[in-house]
C-alpha cells in the first residue's frame, strides 16, 4: 500500500496505514554498502593489487581470492538490502483519533504511541543525499524527561512530511481546545498579536536564491507542496547578517589556529637546524638565525607565509561552511507554531508549538556585544538525540534550543519577537537590579574563587617555588644545567604571569559589568533574568513554565543581605535552572511570593482565570485548526 498522501488530508480514513517512501530500502542501504565497499578496498585491496602486480605466476590464486571477496561482498550487500526491504515492509504509521502510532520491526515488533497533546515539536532533517531525492526524516519530540528519545519517521517525501506535520499540529490543537473547552466554558480571547496583521518586509540574501532553487526543483520524489495554514510573520537573513553570523559562529577556527601555531613552533627549530649547518655556530637563537643569510630568511618567510595562507583558507572555508549552514534560513509563525528552516545542503526544519516554548533567550557573545547584535533562540524541552544514525549536527549543539535569529541587531529584537512570538509582548520592562553589595561579592567571586587569572598566577607561583626548591636541593653547585633549568622556568613563569594578569583584568571587567548589568524582573505572567558580563544573556520565560523556584543563601550572603534566586524550568534535557546571584533578600522574598499561585489570585492586578490557565491559547484570525483543509 503506497501512501495516499497526495489526496486531500481530510479524505483519509482514521486507521489508514501510511508507509514511508520506498527509497528507505535502497537509499538507506546505499550508505552501508558504500561503507562496506570502502572497508573491503582498504583491507584486501592491497593484497589484490600485489597479486595482480606479481605477474601471471599466481594468477589463479589471485583470481580465486578476488572472486571470493567479490562474492562475499555481494552476499553481504544482498543481506543488507534484503533486511532493509523487510524492515520497510513492516514499517508504517497510523494517525488515529487521539494518537500517532509508529509500528516497526520484523521479528521484534515495536509500536510507539504518541498522544497528540504530548507532542513537543516536530522537526524535519535531510542530509544532502536525502535532499537530492526529496526525502527527509521527521522526528517527533515528546516531553518525556531525560530518558526519552524523539520518535523518528525516516524517509518520508517532503510532501508527506509537511502533510504529517500539519496533521499532527492540527490534531494537537483540536485535542487541546477540547481540553480547554472542558475546563473553561467561554472561548479564550487573549490579546491577539498586534504585529501579526502585517507580515514583515521580506529580507533576503544571496543564498536565498539557492534555497529557491531547492524549493522549485524540490528533489526527485518530493511531491507537490502541501497547502498549510497561513503564515502570519516570517523573515530571513540579510546578506550582512548572514555573513556576520557565519564569521562569528566558527568556534573550531581558534582550535585550528592553535594547532597550526603549534606545528609551526615544532617546525621552526628543525628548519634552522637544516639551513643553519653551513654557518660556523649552531643557530640557537631564532632571531639571530633569521639574519644569518638570504636562503634561511626566505625559507622561514615562505614557511610562515604558507602557514598563514593555510589559516586564511581554512578560516574562509569555515565561514563559507557556516554561511551555507545558515543559507536559506527562514523563521516563520504559522498559526500556533513556529517553524525555522535552514541549511543549503543539509536541510533542517524545526517546528515547535508556541505552548511548548519554555523560554526566549537573547544571547550576546562578547563579539556580538561589541557590535550591538545578539542571537535569539527559543528553549524547548529537549529530547535525547542519541540515535546512532542521526546526523552529528543535532548532537553538536544540544542545549541552544531553536535559533530563531543567529545575528540580530539589538534594536530589532522587540520587533522580531513580537512578530514571531506575540505571546511574549508583555514581558516585564522594569528590571530590578542586583543588590549594591553584589559588586564587591561579584569581584571576589569572579576574580578570586572562580577567577582563571588568579588561579593561573597561584599555580604558576607554586610551580616556580617548587622548581627553585628542588634545584636548590641539588648538592652539586657546579652543575651548569641547574641554572639553565631555572632560567627557562623563570621565563615561562613570567609569560604565565603576564597571561594571568590579562585574565585577571578580563575577570575583573566581567565582574564589574555583571554587577552593573544583571537584573531580574517579573510581572503578572512573565519573568526575566539578565546575566551580564563580557557576554550577556537575557532569558524571558512565562511564570507558567517555572516548575519550582528556590532561594538559596550561604552565611556570607546572609551577612550581606543577599540571596540567590533559581527558577527551574523543564527546558533542555532534564531541565534548566535560570539563576541570578545576589539579589537583595527582600526582592528574593517578593519573588517567592510572586511564585505562589494563591498570591496571584488574591494580589494580582487582574483576575483572568482563562488567561491564567493557558496564556498561550492562540487567538486571532488564521489560527483556527480547520484552516489547513
Amino acid at each position: 500500500m503506497t501512501a495516499p498522501v497526495q489526496t486531500a488530508p481530510a479524505a483519509q480514513t482514521p486507521e489508514a496505514r501510511y508507509k514511508v517512501h520506498a527509497s528507505y530500502v535502497w537509499l538507506g542501504s546505499a550508505g552501508a554498502v558504500i561503507a562496506l565497499l570502502f572497508a573491503l578496498l582498504v583491507t584486501s585491496g592491497g593484497s589484490v593489487i600485489s597479486y595482480l602486480a606479481s605477474g601471471d605466476s599466481d594468477a589463479l590464486v589471485g583470481l580465486i581470492a578476488t572472486s571470493t571477496t567479490l562474492f562475499g561482498f555481494i552476499m553481504i550487500a544482498a543481506i543488507i538490502i534484503a533486511s532493509r526491504f523487510f524492515a520497510y515492509k513492516h514499517l508504517y504509521f497510523t494517525l488515529s483519533a487521539d494518537e500517532f502510532c509508529l509500528c516497526s520491526g520484523i521479528f521484534n515488533k515495536q509500536q510507539v504511541h504518541v498522544p497528540y497533546p504530548r507532542i513537543q515539536s516536530v522537526d524535519q532533517n535531510a542530509t544532502l543525499l536525502q535532499r537530492i531525492f526529496g526525502v527527509c526524516t521527521v522526528s517527533i519530540d515528546t516531553a518525556g524527561g531525560a530518558s526519552n528519545k524523539a520518535v523518528q519517521v525516516p524517509y518520508l517525501t517532503k510532501a508527506q512530511a509537511e502533510w504529517l506535520r500539519t496533521q499532527l499540529f492540527t490534531h494537537k490543537m483540536q485535542a487541546e481546545q477540547a481540553a480547554v473547552a472542558n475546563t473553561a466554558a467561554t472561548a479564550p480571547a487573549t490579546p491577539s498579536a498586534a504585529a501579526a496583521a502585517a507580515p514583515a518586509a521580506q529580507t533576503g540574501n544571496v543564498l536565498d536564491a539557492g534555497k529557491q532553487v531547492w524549493d522549485e526543483v524540490g528533489g526527485i520524489f518530493a511531491g507537490a507542496p502541501q497547502a498549510s495554514q497561513a503564515v502570519s510573520y516570517q523573515y530571513g537573513l540579510t546578506n550582512k547578517e548572514l555573513i556576520l553570523a557565519g564569521i562569528s559562529n566558527n568556534s573550531a577556527f581558534a582550535v585550528i589556529v592553535v594547532a597550526i601555531l603549534g606545528v609551526l613552533a615544532e617546525a621552526l627549530p628543525l628548519l634552522t637546524d637544516v639551513f643553519g649547518n653551513e654557518s660556523a655556530h649552531m643557530a640557537n637563537d631564532l632571531s639571530s638565525a633569521i639574519t644569518r643569510g638570504d636562503i634561511l630568511n626566505t625559507a622561514v618567510l615562505s614557511v610562515v607565509g604558507v602557514a598563514v595562507g593555510i589559516m586564511v583558507i581554512i578560516w574562509v572555508l569555515s565561514i563559507i561552511g557556516s554561511c551555507v549552514n545558515y543559507g536559506g534560513f527562514q523563521a516563520r509563525r504559522r498559526g500556533a507554531r513556529i517553524e525555522v528552516e535552514h541549511g543549503l545542503l543539509q536541510h533542517a526544519l524545526q517546528g515547535v508549538d508556541i505552548s511548548r516554548v519554555q523560554a526566549v533567550v537573547i544571547k550576546q557573545t562578547f563579539i556580538r556585544r561589541l557590535m550591538g547584535y545578539c542571537e535569539l533562540s527559543l528553549s524547548r524541552v529537549g529530547a535525547v538525540s542519541g540515535d546512532q544514525t542521526d546526523s552529528s549536527q543535532k548532537n553538536s549543539r544540544p542545549d541552544t534550543g531553536i535559533v530563531i535569529h543567529p545575528f540580530l541587531k539589538l534594536s530589532r529584537v522587540n520587533e522580531v519577537l513580537f512578530g514571531i512570538v506575540p505571546e511574549y509582548q508583555d514581558v516585564p520592562q522594569t528590571p530590578t537590579p542586583v543588590s549594591p553589595k553584589a559588586m564587591r561579592r561579584g569581584l571576589i567571586r569572579r576574580a578570586l574563587w572562580q577567577g582563571s587569572g588568579f588561579w593561573c598566577a597561584v599555580i604558576t607561583c607554586a610551580v616556580q617555588i617548587i622548581t627553585h626548591f628542588l634545584v636548590g636541593l641539588d648538592p652539586d653547585p657546579y652543575r651548569t644545567d641547574a641554572s639553565a633549568v631555572l632560567g627557562i622556568t623563570d621565563v615561562l613563569c613570567a609569560i604565565l604571569y603576564v597571561l594571568a594578569v590579562v585574565l585577571l583584568v578580563f575577570d575583573v571587567a566581567g565582574a564589574i559589568l555583571w554587577a552593573k548589568g544583571s537584573s531580574f524582573a517579573h510581572n503578572r505572567r512573565f519573568m526575566q533574568i539578565t546575566n551580564a558580563g563580557l557576554s550577556r544573556e537575557t532569558v524571558n520565560f512565562p511564570r507558567q513554565k517555572i516548575q519550582y523556584g528556590c532561594v538559596r543563601t550561604n552565611p556570607l550572603q546572609r551577612a550581606a543581605g543577599t540571596a540567590t534566586i533559581c527558577a527551574r524550568t523543564a527546558a533542555g534535557v532534564g531541565g534548566t535552572t535560570f539563576t541570578l546571584i545576589d539579589v537583595t533578600q527582600t526582592d528574593a522574598d517578593a519573588w517567592l511570593s510572586w511564585l505562589e499561585p494563591r498570591h496571584m489570585k488574591t494580589v494580582g492586578p487582574q483576575k483572568d482565570p482563562v488567561a491564567e490557565a493557558s496564556p498561550f491559547v492562540p487567538a486571532g484570525p488564521g489560527q483556527t485548526p480547520t484552516q489547513g483543509a
Binding site: 504530548r118 519550582y548 532561594v551 511570593s593 511564585l595
Partner: protein, 166 residues
Amino acid sequence: MRALPESKLDPKIKFVWRINDAIWIIISFLICFGIAAVIAAIAAEEGNASWAPILLAAVAILFAALAVLCLIILPPIRYARWRYQLTDDFLDIAKGIIWKQRIVIPFIRVQNTDTRQGPIMRAFGLASVTVSTAAGEHEIPGLALAEAADVRDKAAELARIAREDV
C-alpha cells in the same frame, strides 16, 4: 523576611538520620582503620614503627569527631531547620544549616507524588514523600505514615485538579 513554614518533620526522623550516619561512619571507619593498621603492620616488620600508634590514634580521633558531629550536633539543628508547609496551591520548603534553601513548588506543576520507606524508616513507622515536577523532584524525608499518605494524596489531588502540561 518571609515567615517560616509551619509544619515540622516527625521528631523520630532524628533517630533515622543518626542510624543512617552511624552506619556509613562505622563502615568507612573500619575501611580506613584497616588500611592504617595494615600500613602500621608493614612498618613494624621493617622495624621503625614509632609513628604507627599516632596514625591509628589520628584516624580514630578523626572518626570520633565525625561521629560527634553527625550523631549529636547536626541532627537537632537539621531537624529544627527543616520546615515545610502545604497550602492549597503550593508546597513550601525551608531547609539547610549553612546553605539555606527556600523552595516553592506550585501544585499545578507537580507530575506525580509518591511515598517511600526504607527498612530504618519502617522500623520507626515513618515514610518520606517525594514530589516530582517535570524538572526534578523534592523529598520531605520523615513523616508519620498516615501523615505521609495524607500529604501525598493531597498533593496528587491538587495536581490533578489543575492539570496542565509542561
